[in-house]
Symmetry: C2
Subunit: 362 residues, 2 copies
C-alpha cells in the first residue's frame, strides 16, 4: 500500500484477479451494467463490477444464479465482482418494511410479495450469487436523525458480528459497514467497532443520501483515519469526478455509483474535471467535436456531439450506450490516473492540474 | 456475376468499398441500427447499412447531416450505405397525405407539420444524406387493389424518369423500383419499364406489405427474369431466414428489414434454419445453452439462454442489444453462406442441408 498524504495506491487479491485501488466500480444492478456489454466494459477499462443483491434475489433468484455457475459465469464478467447486502434497496425501494433487531421484513417493489432479510440470510444469498466481495447487512438511517442513527448504528454493529459468524465461503472477502449519519462521534464509534471485527475490508455507508458534500467529506475525515490502513476502504454509492478526488484525497480506495449510467440514459455526460453537459442542448446540434477532446473512450474517439445530441433527441437506445460508456470511462480512468499520481507522489499536483470543479449542468 | 440456377453471387462497387451480394442490410432508421454500435455491426459482419430518408429529413434534417460530412461520417459507418426515398414511410407513418402526379404532401408523424416530397426533392435530400445507393420516390399501393396499383405504377414510372433526370451526384448509384401489387401482368410491365431506364440497380417494392408468402414469391418469379442480369436486384423490406433463401433462389441480391432488430427488442430470436424462439418463455430460465450452438455471434459465443431470458424479463436494454446482434448476424451470415454456396454451385444442396422451415414463434 503506497501513500501520498492520505491518498493511497493499493492492491487487493481476489479469486478473479488482482484489484488495483483506487478503483471505480460500475453498477450492474440486475447482473448487467445498463446498456453496456461486458466487452464494452472491458474496453472502457472496468475492473470491479457491483451487482445488487436485492434485485437479483427477486429476479432471477440467487439459487438460479448459483445453479447457472454464479454471477461471473451468468453475466460473463470474468474480473472481480462485489455484491451489496440488499439492505439499502430494502430501505429505499420497498414501500413498506418492518425492522427489528433480528432483521427486516419488506415487500417486493415488483409484486408486493413479503420477504425477510436477516444478516445470515443476506450472507447466504450473497454466497449463492458468488461475488468476490460481499457486504454485511446494515441499516441506513436518515442522516440528520441522531436518535435513529444511534439505534441503527448499534443494530448495524450487531448484524456485522452475526454476518461474520454466518460466513461459509472462505474464497469471498467480507466488508463491514460504518454508519452514524452526519454525527462525528457516532461515526468515530462505528469506525472503531467495525475496524475491530477484522473484516477483509471496510465500507462507509449512509453517505450521499441527502447530506451536503461538506458533511460527507467531514465524515470521511473522521472515519478513514480510524479504519485499518492495510485494508481497502469502500465509500458506498458515491461517484462523481469531484467525489472521487475528494474521497481518494481522504484515503478512500473503492467507489461505486449508478450515476454514470443513469445520467447516460437521461442524456447527460460527465466532464473529467467535474461539471456536466446536457447533450439535449441545441448548442450541440452542429458541434463536430467529441464530448471531451482528451477522452479515450469509444464514444469520444468516434462520435461528434452533434450525433450524440441527435441520438438523445430521437430517444435512440444507442444514446444510452454511448453516453454510459463515456461516463463510466471518465470515472474508471480518473481513479486509475489518481492511482498513478499517488505512486509518483504527485497527487495534489495532479489534482491542481485537473482543476476539478463542482458538478452542475452547464 | 456467378450464378447457380437463378441464384447469383455478385460484386457491386461503391465509393465505400466493394459490396458482395447476396447481402442482408441492417436498418439504421435514424442513422443508428437500434441498440447496436457501429463496432458491433462490424463485428457481426455487416457490410451494407440502410437509413431512412423520411426520418432523417425530419430529424436532424438532411442539410445538417450534409454539413456534418454526410451520413457515413455522422454515424461513423465507413462501409456502403443505402437510403430509401422516404416514400414508404410517407404512406405508412404519416396520418394524412395527399398524392398527385407531381408529388405527395404529408404531415410529420412527430409534430403534424406539413411537408412535400417530389421525386426531385427526394433525390436532393438523399444527395445531402450522401449514401452510396439512393432510391427513386415511388408509390406503394395496397397490394390487392388492381385499379389503384395501375395508377400507382404509372406514377412510379413517371417519377423514376424524373428522379433519373434530377441526379447531380455521379458518385451515388440510383436504383429504380418495380411496383404492381400482386398482379403478374402489372409486375411484368413495371419490370420492363424500370429495366429500360438504365438505373445502376433495380428494386422490387410493394411486397411483404400484407400479401401471402406464395404471392410474394410468385411476383419474384415474374420480375427477376425481366430485370437486367448484370445489375443488382434489391427486394425492399424483406428479411427472414426463409425469405432470404426464397429470394436468393429467385435471383434477388440485396435485402433489408427492420424485423431482426424489432424482434430483438421484443425478446424474440431467429433460428438460422427458420423459426423463432421467444426468450421470455419459462422453459429457458435454466437453459445453459446459447440461443444457437452453431452461431458465431457475440451473444451466442458468450451468453446462455437463461441469462438472455433474465434480461428480457427484467426489461434490460442489454436484451435488445444482444438479441439484435444475434438476429442481424443470423441474416448477414446466412446471405454470406448462400453466396459461398452459389460460388461452389451447391445452392440447392446447401439449402436442403439447412432444412429451412417457415417462421413461427415456437
Amino acid at each position: 500500500m503506497a501513500a501520498d498524504g492520505r491518498a493511497r495506491a493499493g492492491r487487493f487479491s481476489t479469486p478473479h484477479g488482482m484489484l488495483e485501488t483506487p478503483v471505480f466500480a460500475p453498477v450492474g444492478t440486475q447482473a448487467t451494467v445498463k446498456a453496456v456489454t461486458p466487452a464494452q466494459l472491458h474496453e472502457l477499462g472496468a475492473s470491479l463490477v457491483l451487482a445488487n443483491t436485492y434485485h437479483l434475489y427477486l429476479r432471477p433468484g440467487d439459487q438460479l444464479v448459483s445453479d447457472m455457475g454464479g454471477l461471473h459465469q451468468f453475466m460473463q464478467w470474468p474480473k472481480p465482482m462485489l455484491t451489496d447486502s440488499g439492505g439499502f434497496q430494502v430501505f429505499s425501494l420497498s414501500d413498506t418494511r418492518q425492522i427489528d433487531d433480528d432483521g427486516v421484513t419488506f415487500r417486493s417493489h415488483l409484486d408486493g410479495s413479503a420477504h425477510r432479510f436477516t444478516p445470515e440470510r443476506a450472507v447466504a444469498i450473497q454466497e449463492n450469487l458468488g461475488a468476490d466481495i460481499v457486504m454485511v447487512l446494515d441499516e441506513c438511517a436518515e442522516p440528520y436523525d441522531r436518535a435513529y442513527n444511534e439505534i441503527a448504528m448499534q443494530r448495524t454493529h450487531a448484524w456485522a458480528r452475526r454476518s461474520m459468524a454466518a460466513r461459509t465461503r472462505p474464497d469471498q472477502a467480507m466488508f463491514g459497514i460504518v454508519q452514524g449519519g452526519v454525527f462525528p462521534d457516532l461515526r468515530a464509534r462505528s469506525a472503531e467497532f467495525i475496524a475491530a471485527q477484522q473484516f477483509e475490508g471496510n465500507a462507509i455507508g449512509g453517505l450521499s443520501v441527502g447530506e451536503s458534500k461538506a458533511e460527507m467529506y467531514a465524515m470521511l475525515d473522521v472515519v478513514t483515519p480510524i479504519l485499518p490502513a492495510d485494508k481497502p476502504r469502500y465509500l458506498m454509492g458515491v461517484g462523481t469526478p469531484e467525489d472521487l478526488v475528494e474521497g481518494i484525497r481522504r484515503g478512500v480506495d473503492i467507489f461505486d455509483c449508478v450515476l454514470p449510467t443513469r445520467l447516460g440514459r437521461t442524456g447527460a455526460v460527465f466532464l473529467r474535471a467535474g461539471g456536466r453537459l446536457n447533450m439535449k442542448n441545441a448548442e450541440f446540434a452542429r458541434d463536430t467535436r467529441p464530448v471531451d477532446d482528451a477522452c479515450a473512450c469509444y464514444s469520444c474517439q468516434n462520435f461528434s456531439r452533434a450525433y450524440l445530441r441527435h441520438l438523445v433527441q430521437t430517444k435512440e437506445m444507442l444514446a444510452s450506450t454511448l453516453l454510459s460508456i463515456h461516463n463510466l470511462h471518465t470515472l474508471v480512468q480518473l481513479a486509475k490516473d489518481l492511482r498513478a499520481a499517488v505512486l509518483r507522489h504527485e497527487f495534489e499536483l495532479y489534482v491542481t492540474a485537473l482543476n476539478v470543479r463542482a458538478g452542475a449542468i452547464e
